[in-house]
C-alpha cells in the first residue's frame, strides 16, 4: 500500500517538475523569439515569406470553411428568427456570430491544424537534420533568421485570415438568406450595418484573433524546437501542437469573451 502511494506521489512529482521545466523553457524560448525580432523588421522579406507560408497557403481552407459556416448560420439563423417573426435580422445574427466568435475561433482552430502543424514539422525537421545547428555555425542566429519571422508571420496572418473567414461567412449567409430563401436584401445589409459596432464587435474580434495568432504560433514554434530529433519525436510534436493550440484557443476565448462582452 505504502509502495503504491510512494510510486503515485513520485509520478505526480515528476509530472509537476517536468511541467515546470517545460513552462520555464517555453518562457525563455518566447523571450528569445521576441528579443531577436529586429531582423523581422529590418528584413521584411523574411516575414513576408512566412506570411505566405502560414497565411496565403491557409487561404483555401479558410475561404471554403468560412463559406460553409456562413451557409449553415444562414439556414439555422433563418429557421430560428422566423419563429419570432424577425427573419430580416438575419444579417445582424450572421455578422455578429462571425465577427465576435466564430470567425476568430474557427479560423484559429483551422490555422492551428494547417499552419501550426506545418510550422512544427518544419522547425522539428530543421532541428533533426541539424539545419538549425548549421545556421548557428555559419554565424546566423536561427532565432533571428527563422523563428522570429515565422512568429510575426503567424501573428500578422491570423487576424487577416479571421477577417477573410468572417467575410466569406457573411457571403455564405447572404447566399442562403437572400439569394436562396428570399430575405429582403436591403433589410439584410441595413440591419447588419446598424447593429454591428466597429469597436465593440469588430475590433474585439480582431484582438481575439491576434491573441490566438500569438498563442498558436508560439506553441507551434516551441513544440517544433523542443521536439526530439527523431521521426516519432516530430510526429508527436505535431500532434501536441494541434491539441494544445485547440485547447489554448478555447480557453483564451472564454477569458477574452468574459472581459470583452460581459464587463467582468
Amino acid at each position: 500500500m505504502i509502495g503504491v502511494l510512494d510510486r503515485a506521489l513520485r509520478r505526480i512529482g515528476h509530472l509537476v517538475v517536468d511541467g515546470v521545466w517545460k513552462l520555464g523553457a517555453a518562457t525563455r524560448f518566447t523571450g528569445y523569439v521576441l528579443a531577436r525580432s529586429a531582423d523581422s523588421v529590418r528584413r521584411p522579406q523574411l516575414t513576408l515569406n512566412e506570411i505566405y507560408f502560414t497565411g496565403t497557403l491557409s487561404l483555401i481552407i479558410i475561404i471554403v470553411s468560412g463559406t460553409f459556416v456562413g451557409l449553415v448560420l444562414g439556414l439555422q439563423g433563418y429557421e430560428t428568427l422566423k419563429r419570432y417573426g424577425s427573419s430580416e435580422a438575419l444579417g445582424t445574427l450572421v455578422a455578429l456570430a462571425l465577427v465576435r466568435e466564430l470567425g476568430p475561433v474557427v479560423s484559429a482552430l483551422l490555422f492551428a491544424s494547417r499552419a501550426g502543424s506545418a510550422i512544427t514539422a518544419k522547425i522539428g525537421i530543421m532541428k533533426a537534420t541539424e539545419q538549425l545547428s548549421a545556421m548557428e555555425m555559419m554565424a546566423v542566429d536561427p532565432f533571428a533568421r527563422v523563428l522570429s519571422p515565422t512568429f510575426w508571420g503567424g501573428v500578422i496572418s491570423m487576424p487577416l485570415l479571421a477577417a477573410i473567414f468572417s467575410a466569406m461567412g457573411v457571403f455564405g449567409g447572404y447566399l442562403i438568406g437572400v439569394v436562396i430563401i428570399g430575405v429582403d436584401s436591403g433589410a439584410f445589409w441595413s440591419q447588419m450595418q446598424a447593429n454591428v459596432d466597429l469597436r465593440e464587435d469588430i475590433l474585439n474580434g480582431v484582438i481575439k484573433s491576434a491573441v490566438f495568432g500569438v498563442a498558436v504560433t508560439l506553441i507551434a514554434l516551441f513544440e517544433g524546437y523542443d521536439a526530439p530529433p527523431t521521426a516519432e519525436g516530430v510526429s508527436y510534436a505535431v500532434t501536441r501542437t494541434v491539441v494544445t493550440s485547440a485547447l489554448a484557443v478555447l480557453a483564451l476565448d472564454f477569458v477574452l469573451t468574459s472581459f470583452m462582452f460581459t464587463g467582468v
Binding site: T129, E130, Q131, A134, E136, M137, M138, A139, V140, R145
Partner: protein, 269 residues
C-alpha cells in the same frame, strides 16, 4: 597557448547533469594542420567539436580559439568569431528548401554586401572546387550522399574560414566518395590556408590526410601522435581500434548478467 596553436582545450570537463561526457581533455591544434579526433561512437568526439564551435560550454577548463576563450564570449562576439569558422555536419545539413546554389550562397548573402553577380561567381568557384558546378540548380533531394557532403563542404568554406571542422565526413559514403571527400579536405586546407579538425572513426582515410591524431575513449584522451606512430602503437585501445580487432579493451559483449541466468539454465543443472 603558443603562437603556433590556433585552438587549445585545457583541462576541459563537460557533462549533462550528473552524466559526465568529457574529463581532463587537453588538446592543442596548430595553425595550418589537419588534426584528427578519433574514437568510438559516443566517446565524446562530436562534443569536443561543439565545445570548439561554442555550441556547448565546458563545465570546467577553458576552450580557446584564436586567443579568445570561446565560452566567455558574448552572443555577438561568438557570432563574429563563428564567421571565421566552417563546419561540415555528418549528413551535410543542407537547407532542403534551397537549391545547391542558394545553399552555398547563403553565408555570402548573410554576411557580405557583395553584388549578386559577384556572389554568383564566388558560388560557382566554390562549387567548381568540389566538382559540382554543373549541379548548381539541383535541389538537395536530388543529390547522392557524397554530392550532398561536397555541397556542404563548399558552403562551409564559402567565407574562407580560418578553421574547418568536419563531423564524421565519411559516414555512409561509398569508397570513391570517401576518397574524394578525404582528398578535398586536404586540398581545401592547403588552398584556404586553414586549420582543420577531423572527427571520424575511419582509420584509413584519416591516417592518410591528418598531421596529428588524438584518440578519445570514454571521454578522455587515451593516445595522441602522428599517424605513423599511432599505426605501430602498442597501447591496447589504439591497437584494437587501428587494426579493427573484435575483442580487446573494448569488449565484444555489452555488459550483461550471466548467460545461463538469461537462458534460465541455472536451475536445470
Amino acid at each position: 597557448m603558443s603562437a603556433d596553436d590556433l585552438i587549445e582545450l585545457r583541462d576541459v570537463e563537460f557533462g549533462y547533469g550528473s552524466r559526465g561526457v568529457l574529463s581532463g581533455i587537453n588538446m592543442r591544434i596548430p595553425r595550418g594542420k589537419v588534426v584528427g579526433i578519433m574514437g568510438l561512437s559516443g566517446s565524446g568526439k562530436t562534443t569536443i567539436l561543439r565545445l570548439i564551435g561554442g555550441q556547448l560550454k565546458p563545465t570546467r577548463g577553458t576552450v580557446s580559439v584564436a586567443g579568445q576563450k570561446i565560452h566567455e564570449l558574448s552572443h555577438d562576439e561568438l557570432y563574429r568569431l563563428r564567421r571565421r569558422m566552417g563546419m561540415l555536419f555528418q549528413f551535410g545539413a543542407l537547407f532542403t528548401d534551397y537549391s545547391v546554389f542558394d545553399n552555398v550562397a547563403f553565408p555570402l548573402r548573410e554576411h557580405t554586401r557583395l553584388p549578386a553577380s559577384m556572389i554568383r561567381d564566388l558560388v560557382l568557384m566554390k562549387l567548381n572546387a568540389v566538382g559540382l558546378r554543373g549541379a548548381a540548380q539541383l535541389m538537395p533531394a536530388e543529390l547522392s550522399g557524397g554530392m550532398a557532403r561536397r555541397v556542404a563542404l563548399a558552403r562551409a568554406g564559402a567565407l574562407d574560414p580560418m578553421v574547418m571542422m568536419y563531423d564524421e565526413p565519411f559516414t555512409g559514403l561509398d569508397p570513391i566518395s570517401t576518397g574524394v571527400i578525404a582528398n578535398l579536405i586536404r586540398r581545401l586546407n592547403e588552398a584556404l590556408g586553414a586549420t582543420s579538425i577531423l572527427v571520424t572513426h575511419d582509420v584509413q582515410e584519416s591516417f592518410g590526410i591528418a598531421d596529428y591524431i588524438y584518440f578519445v575513449s570514454a571521454g578522455v584522451i587515451v593516445a595522441e601522435g602522428p599517424p605513423h606512430a599511432l599505426r605501430d602503437s602498442t597501447e591496447p585501445f589504439v591497437h584494437q581500434f587501428v587494426h579493427g580487432e573484435t575483442d580487446g579493451p573494448v569488449p565484444f559483449h555489452y555488459p550483461a548478467q550471466p548467460y545461463e541466468r538469461d537462458l534460465d539454465l541455472e536451475g536445470s543443472r
